[in-house]
Amino acid sequence: MNEIVDLSMLDWSRGQFALTAFYHWLFVPLTLGITFILAIMETIYYKTGDPEWKKITRFWMKVFGINFAIGVATGIILEFQFGTNWSYYSWFVGDIFGAPLAIEGIMAFFMESTFIAVMFFGWDKVSKRFHLVSTWLTAIGANLSALWILVANAWMQNPVGMQFNPDTARNEMVNFWDVFLSPMAINKFLHTISSGFVLAGVFIIGVSAWFLLKQREVPFAKKSILVAAIFGFISSLFLVTTGDGSARLVAQNQPMKLAAMEGLYQGKNGAGLVAFGIFSPTGTDPANDKLNDFLFKIEIPNALSYMIHLDANAFVPGVKDLLNGNEKERMLSAADKISRGKMAIETLRNYKNALTEGRKEEALQMKDKFMSKDFQNNYFKYFGYGFIKNSNELIPGIQLVFYSFHMMVILGSWFLIFFFLSIYFIVNNEITKRRLFLKIAILTIPLVYLAQMAGWTVAEMGRQPWVVQDLLPTVAAVSNINAGAVMVTFWLFALIFTLLLVAEIKIMTKQIKIGPNEGGH
């Protein structure tokens, strides 16, 4: 397989998927969060009857509408790529991926779309109560849409609840609940939607800050900030908690990713947490040139061990332990895993040959062996390692993952402080005087998008070389198609998405400048 895959095809396919996913994700998180903020604002209007809250709700609903209209369906292109560029992956994941996506399409998408229509066009046409219910259901529907794709993504990070069928080369779901309720899936969903909530909070505060700097719509802006800041602060706390949970799950299921996130090369008891670090551009570990030395780092002693195991002296494996193995910690070496993976592939090959050559009894014995618990747990578990030629391929891009992770954490901490200050200034009626803070609030909007992208970079680049952890490397997942076709669509997507982004920014800034008192849906 490795010999026949055109690496430029692989790189272009990965680049295309990353480009599409990043652009798609520019639109999604605002929808996830702003719909709940809208629902809260409309609830206040419903309870108080104050028309100012109706005006506030309708303005932010218009902003949401622009984002929704421009972003909707951009994710479908990712599904096209599965079938064309990633056909072996699509086949291998089988109904594990298909089922959640089908549920997303049938349930969440239709639920969201139906109630969005009532939300946008139902003002003064349906009862206030029904309109409010529709707004809440739009928020729930939007987040349920995200649930299913995140369940599928979590399965790629930690494949559970399935059985590989050697006759079809597909994974078949044996326990829906194991897939749906895996800790990885639950945590990924909660962490991702709370990041969307934080983004929406920052966005509303930032735009409201612009109104305050212009001394326009002051009561509107203050009320918007109050709701967004409280919502954002609670969401930030939730984001930190679920982020902590994520790190623990990564440590359990993707220890190499954790080692990359922390730049931990040699595992140890009482491992420290690198709060900040810069890699040397040239100096590397003498034993492995993929491991760049730190030029400078600030480390909190024992904090990583405590964060992962709630034990300050617990052992945390580093890159070298994962490559060379660690007998004391009962860790297999990469060479052992590669050998077991090759055995799993060879058994599959022999089974297929026996079948095609009509050696039915031998084939049956091989299938029994392949499906036995022992073989599944000790050999098939490492199926993907059989595609790995050099154990260094198992190391993800450490600097990219490390910097992305730390950028995400530093920005996440800033958002928590930012929401706290927003609440403090608004409650003490100081917000209009804090012009520097208002300017910083506007600048925080792009930072929250940057943090989102950094988070996805950690999740997806940190998983490399795997597309499905330990079972399927990226190199084995890609179709045998021409790189030229992928290059064409790469640039086509770059153009289309850039046009959409420019349209979004242009239309949204125009509507924001118009303000809440003019224009309608």
Partner: protein
């Protein structure tokens, strides 16, 4: 209502490009296009997976 018309136009143009240009001309399903039955597709996938030496 100008905003509403603009957004509807963007949605419709985008859907047209996605489903009638990209899907039809650039994104055929590789396994469905090259193989007629699921059995053939499975055989091709297994063949590709087991070529590693």
């Amino acid at each position: 209502m100008k905003l509403g018309r603009t957004l509807w136009a963007i949605i419709l143009i985008k859907l047209f490009i996605i489903f009638f240009v990209l899907k039809l001309f650039f994104f055929p399903n590789y396994l469905k296009k090259n193989f007629n039955t699921d059995k053939e597709r499975s055989a091709n996938v297994i063949e590709n997976f087991t070529k590693t030496k």
